[in-house]
């Protein structure tokens, strides 16, 4: 088979048509990069065994602009996102699928960068990409690349993590600084363009979760505050558990650069997306131990206890402000829009 021009070539309609061009794309790019015994069998479906335990499954679709951003790209993000969704059930992620929607004309060199980045992210997270799919849409009908990943993992007996398990008196912990991903991505959007050294926090959190569960198997809730930020995640948990949550603004870690960018754009870091942070809720007596384990892990160095769970039939999330007042931390409504003046 002829090689593809991975330096100057572009995605063509034929790359999704089921013929030789598609076979070359799959063989030379995807199989080469994701290489593992299950994938190499090139069946339409991957066949594998799973270790004992309950099976956890999740899927996520990634449509980010720009495709490459400081600290990551759509490829690494697509792996981290699904790995983290599985890890937030207290499970060990094992296998991923990858579906690509490519826009005609997209540079193959960029696609290769994205695929390599996915492969690296999967290796680092200890998961294998075992099957996939490619479709090509006409120029103008896509935004370069969309990626869907789905994944399976296994949760050990005795681990019971769910959004409805928060109880009054529990403590809320965060694994690190808020808003790094959202602000890093925004800084590269063409209509904003502000200078910052910030990089996305995009990272797989299954290693951190494993350490946390080893030290504290009774963790009640784990969530990664992605879209909608910390505010959306805590409101979901308050709804599902039928409780209130009170945060201490003082305790929530936010980098200076994120604060400044949010100030400039009229945004609130509590609502900005994260891709490498988790929040944990555990019983009060476990909180100190859990915090120490999180801080000892490279993904949890800036971990803090940021609040408590309260009895509240209205299921409000509120926050003691630094100033000494109290305010609600509500769901975001629509997009977070900048203020005018």
């Amino acid at each position: 088979m002829m090689g593809m021009d991975l330096q100057n070539g572009r995605v063509e309609m034929g790359h999704g048509a089921g013929g030789r061009a598609m076979a070359r794309l799959i063989g030379q790019l995807f199989v080469e990069a994701f290489d593992n015994p299950i994938l190499r069998r090139e069946h339409d479906a991957a066949v594998f065994d799973l270790p004992p335990g309950r099976v956890v499954m999740s899927t996520d679709t990634f449509v980010i602009s720009p495709l490459f951003f400081p600290g990551g790209d759509i490829g690494s993000l697509a792996v981290h996102g699904t790995v983290n969704d599985i890890a937030m059930a207290g499970a060990v992620p094992k296998y991923l699928t990858a579906g690509f929607v490519l826009e005609e004309g997209f540079p193959l060199a960029d696609l290769a960068r994205i695929v390599d980045s996915m492969a690296r992210a999967a290796r680092d997270a200890g998961v294998e990409i075992v099957t996939g799919d490619t479709k090509v849409v006409e120029r103008g009908h896509g935004d370069g690349v969309y990626i869907n990943t789905a994944g399976v993992g296994v949760v050990a007996d005795g681990v019971d993590i769910a959004g409805d398990r928060a109880r009054p008196g529990d403590r809320v912990l965060i694994s690190g600084t808020l808003g790094d991903h959202g602000v890093a991505v925004m800084s590269k959007r063409e209509n904003l363009g502000f200078g910052t050294d910030l990089v996305s926090d995009s990272a797989a959190l299954n290693g951190l979760v494993a350490d946390m569960l080893a030290a504290c198997p009774g963790i009640r809730v784990l969530r990664d505050p992605t879209r909608g930020g910390l505010a959306a995640t805590l409101n979901e948990i308050a709804q599902q558990s039928g409780v209130g949550i009170e945060l201490m603004e003082d305790a929530i870690p936010v980098r200076g650069a994120v604060k400044s960018a949010c100030e400039l754009l009229g945004l609130d870091p509590l609502y900005v997306a994260n891709e490498g942070k988790l929040i944990a809720i555990c019983a009060d007596q476990d909180a100190g131990r859990l915090l120490a384990v999180m801080r000892a892990h490279e993904r949890g160095g800036d971990a803090h206890i940021i609040g408590s769970v309260l009895a509240d039939q209205r299921r409000f999330v509120r926050m003691k402000t630094r100033l000494g007042g109290t305010r609600m931390v509500d769901w975001i409504s629509g997009e977070q829009l900048p203020r005018i003046c």
Binding site: R318, T321, L323, G324, M328, S333, L337
Partner: protein, 373 residues
């Protein structure tokens, strides 16, 4: 964040709260209007209300650019956006404001209109330069803060001879709205003093507020948008009230001068002229309260360039935005608040912008039963 965190310092806030409690007379009710949505937002977001004694009440004013825009103007924006070959640019908040039948620019965009959210008039100009085959209209809204950037864009467009850039001007004037509130008569709200605008005052200067102290006998303290600014201004207002004084004071000396930004004022005078009258949401028709584009820039005036025909605007009769904007009602006095009207599904403009009184109370303050927020 240097030079910002200092104005959110908890110890200083507690000190100011103690001073306010000590100086506010127990036998007196203090009713201060913060004119600007920026102040409304700061008060709600930082929980400033919790630091004020019960007899010091903040009344939210109309200084929220999208809130004061009447439904008819939103309809005009939607109609403009629907014209063939048109790209409509505006500031973000406006996209969600409901017009007649709850139509909005967001919905127009979903129907296929080219509606762009911009951070600056410069972005709108650039879109025009990059797309010579399209007509680009900047739907300009806002008080005196956003007026000079619109003026700059118009002068640039004229200098460059751009044929495809126009401005639909809806810029409004702060002092006119303050006067309308004080002239409200029996239906009006009792106000003991104003926390005056921050950014607006950086443009128009403290001199613009003399009529309110001199003619109306109301104390005015210009304040920055940080929580300590607001608390300091409240303390200064309490001191004026206690002393029976009514003067214009400036708490925001780090940005505001007596004269304001003379260069911006001169440019604004060149590019715009006073409208005879402008319809405000909640405040009705107010003479000499808004700007239109000067004849010298007629080629860049969307109102003259594009004929649009919008039917009589329809407002939800139960929406109390108008009364909320005048300070006559609190958000919780409105029947729609929190039931049919929430930020996810706003019925009125006050629920749209984060600077709107209803949105601020819903988002930050509604855990307080009874509406002190």
């Amino acid at each position: 964040m240097k030079y910002i965190e200092e104005f959110r310092d908890p110890d200083l806030a507690q000190g100011l709260a103690r001073a306010i409690r000590a100086e506010a007379r127990a036998d007196h009710a203090y009713r201060f209007m913060e004119f600007c949505g920026g102040h409304t937002h700061a008060i709600a977001r930082y929980g400033v209300t919790d630091l004020l004694p019960a007899n010091v009440r903040m009344i939210h004013g109309p200084g929220c650019p999208v809130c004061v825009l009447p439904v008819g103007k939103v309809d005009e924006a939607v109609a403009l956006a629907g014209l063939d070959g048109m790209t409509l640019c505006t500031y973000a908040d406006l996209l969600r404001v409901p017009g007649s039948g709850y139509d909005s620019l967001f919905k127009a965009r979903a129907r296929g209109a080219d509606v762009r959210m911009v951070y600056s008039t410069q972005d709108a100009l650039q879109i025009a330069r990059d797309n010579p085959a399209r007509q680009v209209v900047f739907f300009a809204i806002g008080f005196e803060t956003t007026t000079p950037p619109t003026a700059v864009a118009l002068t640039q467009a004229r200098a460059e001879g751009l044929k495809n850039f126009t401005v639909h001007c809806n810029h409004v004037l702060t002092p006119a709205a303050m006067r309308a509130i004080l002239d409200g008569g029996q239906d009006g709200v009792e106000i003991d003093g104003f926390v005056g605008p921050a950014h607006v005052s950086a443009v128009i200067g403290t001199k613009a507020y003399a009529p309110f102290s001199d003619d109306y006998g109301k104390p005015v303290v210009i304040a920055g948008f940080e929580p300590l600014d607001v608390m300091q201004a409240v303390l200064m207002l309490i001191r004026q009230v206690n002393a029976g004084k009514a003067v214009v004071e400036n708490e925001y000396t780090r940005a505001v001068s007596f004269d304001g930004n003379l260069k911006a004022q001169a440019l604004t005078d060149t590019v715009f002229r006073l409208r005879d009258s402008f319809a405000w949401r909640g405040l009705g028709d107010i003479p000499d309260s808004a700007l239109s584009i000067h004849d010298d820039f007629a080629d860049f005036d969307a109102e003259r360039r594009f004929a649009i025909d919008t039917p009589t605007p329809r407002e939800n009769k139960a929406c109390a935005c108008g009364d909320v904007l005048r300070g006559v009602k609190t958000p919780e006095d409105c029947k729609l608040f929190g039931s049919t009207c929430t930020p996810d599904n706003p019925m009125g403009a006050c629920m749209v912008s984060s600077e709107g009184a209803c949105a601020a109370h819903w988002t930050y303050g509604r855990f307080r039963e009874g509406g002190r927020g």
